[in-house]
């Protein structure tokens, strides 16, 4: 069995050198950043090497076709590394060779510069096709890190899969070869599921999987012998012409998104607001203020380091720069105003409805909160554009949900009557959405950037030929003038999409280009908790229902190249050879855990919006269950964001929680929007692991704890006193 590992040459955002900051302009100088292989791609490489070198690889293709397919060295497949990047990326190609990869190819050409994710994916897909055509690899399993730390979109591998028509197995957390009587059986992957974990058996390749940080790290050292081989090896460099990609499809020219501005998130000093227990003021009056401010901070999409709101005690209203721009007062430009509507439509580059691809919470089965948040923000945008807000519900809706969606801002509901597998199969969701979207005219599609949405959105974007901006925290309508597709263009009333990148160290504003050429909408995803839902009491929504057949849905999964890429688009052919039943390559054996049975580490700690972290000061191991876990649950419920549980080294050493969730120098480096420290004194070794959190709340009775001076909020109390009050407030508030 063969493997292709995608390795991206990225800026090391974990260790930003002091001098990389242009302090005068407040900008990050990218040229000063250290460049490395994406650490997640290292894990992907390790996974590939492990499977290659295990007996399992030989046996894995149970249908027998693979065995002894006439190639020498049956069983020991090849691992080929692909990296698209500047000439310097040769370093990480050689490094992969030193670690045991069989070949490495560098995709490098000036023409590739400025590629967005679809243009990147297209280049990588073209290279993959070459590797297959030249028989360097046969029916490969492509493995990639789930996300890069710099561009940070998590879109490239998914779009590579879409272009290759390879089924996606996202979020691998572990692998094993099922033992059978005759040795080892097929390979199975454990993956993150919307709730808990799932186990999938790899039945056939090609396929593409993305890996999480739950997989083990690549050992960082190699033998001198391997090093000398890697030093002497040939690393071919393939350029645009080698790959047969038209100029108009490569790099900036082939991109559907355009970065129009990069700026720094305003860095605010920690405000150090204190709530004292046993002091003069009543903590019960102050704690709600703290909670409210934190919630507001999360909702206004403050990137880490951003200052979302004023300190408590002042009564300046929260500033919400991006959403407020939309803020004609409700009704001022409603769809009823025909003249304005016509004027608005005439002016805008994109036409049609504003759509939210809604999602259900896998545990409760309800429409999730993030979908409602997006409906809220879209309703504001649609008003401004004098168009409709549409809630797209793949999988159909229950009668009682109409009202909820209407009240949350939907004018129209598109229900697609499809059945989904119990395990998350991203293609099913993306196809259902594509089916409906091809039958209406839409100018923008918003997708919740949840675990599942972050896979569905890039697939859908690839199907529709749309640009996609990930994890937006600010959206507004404005005009854009610039060059696109080789000519000066003016884009009236387009969506300005603002998102954090480079680990939250920069903010980028992005617009979607050239949508008219293929009728593709502007697409964005947004993280839960960034926008606030609205309540339009008494509003109602029109329901449209689609019931596609299985065949109709299957055809949605193809990428229409000509439409997508305009002139010259036909040169890149999808890999038709692998068309047969792509989505069935992986079959679920065991489905995900049930609701409520979720572990603390449901999603990687690094991915959580909020982290509740435990130190020795929590007052005993039993308080992890009595205080910390309930707080995690309460915050999840109240704020609808991803909340994780972490700990300090001391707490780990005392056996409170496993090393896998330890934050700090010898554990994880995290950058959540909010870090809640329960009884953590915060030695510098701990602080380096979390000091880039957007907000820090410390609950501690020890006034000397060093963490207090670098916290935004300090609740001076024992955790036993303060946490129950917070739990109470979180419960009452909602």
């Amino acid at each position: 069995m063969d493997f292709v590992v995608l390795v991206k040459y990225v800026a090391d955002v974990e260790r930003i050198p002091e001098d990389a900051w242009d302090t005068e302009r407040g900008l990050l100088r990218r040229s000063r950043l250290r460049m490395v292989a994406n650490p997640l791609d290292d894990r992907a490489l390790r996974l590939a090497l492990e499977i290659r070198d295990s007996a399992a690889a030989a046996e894995s293709m149970t249908d027998g076709r693979e065995k002894g397919a006439g190639r020498p060295g049956v069983g020991r497949g090849k691992v080929v590394v692909l990296s698209m990047g500047p000439p310097q990326a040769e370093e990480i190609c050689r490094r992969a060779l030193a670690h045991g990869a069989d070949h490495a190819v560098l995709l490098s050409d000036r023409a590739f510069a400025g590629a967005d994710t679809i243009a990147t994916a297209r280049t990588i897909a073209a290279a993959l096709r070459h590797l297959v055509a030249d028989r360097v690899v046969h029916r490969p399993l492509v493995i990639a890190g789930m996300q890069s730390p710099d561009g940070d979109t998590a879109q490239v591998p998914i779009q590579v899969a879409a272009l290759m028509r390879y089924p996606v197995i996202p979020y691998v957390t572990a692998w094993s070869a099922a033992p059978v009587s005759s040795g080892t059986g097929p390979i199975s992957f454990e993956t993150l599921q919307p709730v808990g974990r799932g186990r999938l058996t790899l039945r056939r390749t090609p396929a593409l999987s993305t890996v999480t940080s739950f997989l083990p790290e690549l050992p960082r050292y190699v033998s001198l012998e391997r090093m000398s081989r890697a030093s002497a090896a040939d690393v071919p460099v393939w350029g645009r012409e080698d790959l047969g990609i038209a100029e108009s499809q490569a790099g900036l020219a082939g991109s559907r998104t355009r970065v129009v501005e990069i700026f720094s998130p305003p860095k605010a000093g920690r405000r150090g607001y204190r709530v004292e227990f046993g002091g003069e003021r009543n903590p019960l009056e102050e704690l709600p203020v703290v909670l409210e401010q934190l919630e507001q901070y999360l909702r206004t999409g403050g990137a880490p380091g951003d200052s979302g709101e004023a300190a408590p005690g002042t009564d300046t209203p929260a500033s919400r720069p991006d959403t407020r721009e939309l803020g004609d007062s409700p009704g001022a430009s409603g769809p009823g105003n025909a003249a304005r509507e016509a004027e608005a439509r005439e002016g805008s580059y994109y036409r049609g409805e504003c759509v939210v691809l809604c999602e259900r919470d896998a545990g409760t089965g309800e429409v999730n909160r993030c979908s409602l948040e997006l409906l809220g923000v879209v309703a504001g945008l649609a008003d401004k554009l004098s168009t409709r807000t549409t809630a797209l519900m793949p999988g159909g809706i229950r009668p009682d949900e109409r009202e909820l969606l209407a009240h949350s801002g939907a004018d129209t509901i598109l229900s697609v009557g499809t059945e989904f597998s119990r395990t998350f199969v991203p293609e099913e969701h993306a196809r259902a959405a594509a089916y409906a979207l091809r039958r209406i005219r839409s100018q923008m599609v918003l997708v919740p950037a949840t675990l599942t949405g972050r896979v569905v959105a890039p697939l859908l974007a690839a199907y529709l030929g749309a640009g996609l901006t990930a994890d937006c925290t600010g959206l507004k309508i404005a005009d854009y003038r610039g060059r696109a597709g080789g000519r000066d263009s003016s884009y009236r009333k387009v969506l300005f999409q603002t998102r954090p990148a480079l680990g939250g160290n920069v903010m980028a504003t992005i617009v979607s280009l050239r949508g008219r050429e293929n009728g593709a909408p502007q697409m964005v995803s947004a993280r839960p908790g960034v926008f606030a839902p609205i309540a339009r009491e008494g509003a109602s929504a029109v329901l449209r229902e689609f019931t596609p057949t299985g065949d109709e849905l299957d055809s949605e999964g193809s990428v229409e190249l000509a439409a997508d890429f305009g002139e010259g688009g036909g040169k890149v052919e999808p890999d038709r050879g692998h068309d047969e039943a792509p989505a069935e390559a992986a079959q679920p054996d065991v489905t995900a855990g049930e609701t409520g049975a979720t572990s603390d580490t449901e999603i990687p700690l690094e991915e959580c919006d909020v982290i509740v972290s435990v130190g020795l000061g929590i007052g005993g191991k039993e308080n992890v269950d009595r205080l910390a876990r309930p707080l995690v649950r309460a915050l999840k419920r109240a704020w609808g964001v991803a909340v994780g549980l972490g700990c300090s080294r001391a707490a780990m050493e005392a056996g409170y929680l496993p090393h896998s969730v330890q934050v700090g120098q010898t554990g994880k480096t995290v950058r959540p929007r909010l870090y809640i420290a329960l009884g953590i004194s915060g030695a510098v070794q701990h602080r380096v692991g979390m000091e880039n959190a957007g907000r820090i709340l410390s609950i501690n009775s020890d006034d000397e704890a060093p963490l207090l001076s670098s916290s935004d909020y300090v609740i001076r109390a024992r955790c036993e006193e303060a946490v129950p009050l917070l739990l109470q407030l979180l419960q009452d508030g909602r």
Binding site: P17, E18, D19, V36, P87, Q88, A89, E90, E91, R94, R95, A98, P219, R220, Y221, V222, S223, L224, E225, M227, S228, A230, S231, A232, E704
Partner: protein, 547 residues
């Protein structure tokens, strides 16, 4: 308790009048942080901690201390493990941690030096000349970060990089790469020192030398200058290599060398001119595991022979560092690195710099690598782990795995006893034999360290107090043996306030094992000449009442 008021101005002219006393804290909570060091073996007491920002404040403080007869103990990063910064005699603590800018008093910053700011500290740098004038209160880490911007490095690299520059000069610190770069002493070009009597002097290498065996201090404009001298006794040892035990005293010596490694006995260092080196751009670090101690040693000897520029045909380059881990040390490290070969009798970690064969090829050329490989094979190495700069963090983790595992082990017991001895290369195998015998004393041990400099740390890890006394005896024997073999009892940590029981059960200064009474008296004499009141760093190296 009393804190000083404005001191009387110095009796002499020629020096500027002190401008005022430094900030002070008398908060017992604050003071507490200065009463012990990383050894946690000694605790002192103090009335106040002062935080001078420059030499003049230091001078004012020392004058006040003279008048009030207050002992003063200098504190830097507090990472000493010898008690050297512990104020066992009470009095005042002088913390240099706020001396974070150069405030020239006795010198002017030469042409070509530009001020470099890094966070809240600053220093002067001449990139061309590869030299810096720096304040004493900056950590080595900060200094390294700031210099990295210019592609420069201050080579001394003790493990504990939170040590302050001043502290490391006062202890002549060294680290793994001192094998190639040599200890701190070699990098110090000039020092600004405040003498215990309040005079401030700028000592520049080459300007003040001992007249034969007589040291005369350059205290200009002092009528008493004539008295301010001392004689170096014949027979006082001089070490060519690493040593941090006792004052440096040698015929015709440079006075800068007297202060480097003086453990704060003779004055407060307030500014330092150092030499810098270019960062080697690319370095491979290799850990090689050997099946026997003999293989390990012969490999090391071959590497070492290559240092003296005698080209050893097989060795492709002279290493920057050569470190050793014995079998027991590897056992501890297996917690963090289970893949360490089970049958490894020892491991050698070495680094070498190289030129890339092509700009974007991160590895040395194939020939160099095959050269090393052949060398390892010849010495029967059964595995090697190698990294380039990119993955050097792993090796850091590997190095730290040992102290971490050992500390965790020790925490549950009675503490550890670690040696810091070094001997000349020609006697190294003899010293190893002594270590081997010591290892048989019945107490658990681990052995690791700077084998390139014949400088190993044999750590005893006693289970209980009984074993602790067994270990102490073995320790004393080792120290004696090191001295017999012409070595030092402390190559990098210094002696501070360490003492040892002699064969008659008498507690004597640790340094006496090496220098004998004669040597300690010589140190005492130098000390008395500069600090007649014995106010500064009382108890380090030699007690005040020593005769």
């Amino acid at each position: 308790m009393s804190t000083p008021h404005q001191p009387a101005p110095p009796e002499r002219s020629g020096q500027r009048i002190p401008t005022g006393l430094p900030q002070v804290s008398e908060d017992p909570e604050k003071i507490r942080a200065y009463l012990s060091d990383e050894s946690a073996a000694m605790h002192g007491s103090a009335d106040a901690v002062f935080f001078p920002t420059g030499a003049e404040q230091v001078a004012a403080l020392l004058l006040a201390a003279q008048q009030q007869e207050k002992p003063v103990t200098i504190s830097a990063g507090g990472t000493s493990i010898t008690g050297s910064r512990v104020p066992t005699g009470g009095g005042w603590v002088l913390s240099v941690e706020r001396m974070r800018d150069v405030q020239p008093v006795t010198f002017t910053v030469p042409e070509g030096y530009d001020q470099v700011r890094h966070g809240d500290m600053s220093f002067y740098l001449n990139v061309e000349a590869q030299s810096a004038i720096a304040p004493v209160g900056i950590t080595l880490t900060e200094f390294a970060e700031a210099l990295a911007r210019f592609g420069l490095v201050y080579p001394p690299d003790p493990t504990e990089m939170t040590a302050l520059l001043g502290g490391t000069v006062a202890t002549n610190a060294s680290g793994a790469r001192s094998y190639h770069y040599r200890p701190t002493r070699s990098w110090v070009r000039a020092l600004e020192v405040v003498l215990p009597t309040g005079e401030i002097v700028w000592l520049k290498r080459g300007e003040h030398r001992a007249q034969g065996r007589s040291i005369v201090f350059p205290v200009r404009a002092s009528e008493r200058a004539a008295e301010r001298g001392a004689e170096i006794p014949p027979g006082y040892p001089v070490f060519a290599s690493k040593n941090a035990a006792g004052l440096y005293l040698a015929e015709g010596m440079d006075l800068v060398d007297l202060f480097v490694g003086s453990e704060g006995l003779l004055g407060v260092i307030t500014a330092i001119q150092v030499e810098l080196a270019q960062v080697p751009r690319d370095v491979v670090t290799t850990v090689a595991f050997f099946p026997s101690v003999d293989d390990t040693l012969s490999f090391v000897e071959l590497l070492r022979a290559n240092r003296a520029e005698t080209t050893v045909a097989d060795a492709p380059a002279a290493p920057l560092s050569i470190e050793y881990f014995d079998r027991r040390a590897l056992g501890f490290m297996r917690d963090a690195f289970p893949e360490i070969p089970l049958d490894a009798a020892g491991a050698v970690l070495f680094e070498f710099a190289y030129e890339r064969p092509a700009t974007h090829n991160p590895y040395p050329d194939g020939r160099t690598l095959r050269g090393w490989q052949a060398l390892l094979e010849k010495h029967n190495a059964h595995a090697d782990w190698s990294v380039t700069r990119e993955d050097s963090a792993t090796i850091k983790r590997f190095r730290h795995a040992l102290p971490e595992a050992v500390n965790a082990w020790v925490r549950a017991r009675v503490g550890k006893l670690g040696t810091d001895m070094a001997v000349p290369p020609r006697h190294f195998r003899r010293m190893l034999e002594a270590y081997r015998q010591a290892e048989e004393c019945g107490v658990q041990t681990v052995c690791f360290g700077h084998i390139g400099d014949c400088h190993l740390h044999l750590n005893f890890l006693p289970e209980d107090h009984e074993q602790l006394s067994v270990a102490r005896r073995a320790y004393r024997e080792l120290a004696r043996r090191a001295v017999e073999l012409g070595g030092t009892i402390s190559a990098e940590h210094g002696v501070g306030k360490k003492s040892i029981e002699d064969e008659h059960g008498r507690t004597v200064p640790y340094l006496e094992v090496m220098l004998g009474r004669e040597g300690l008296r010589a140190i005492h004499a130098v000390k008395r000449a500069l600090d007649p009141g014995f106010i500064l760093n009382r108890g380090n190296m030699v007690p005040q009442e020593y005769r």
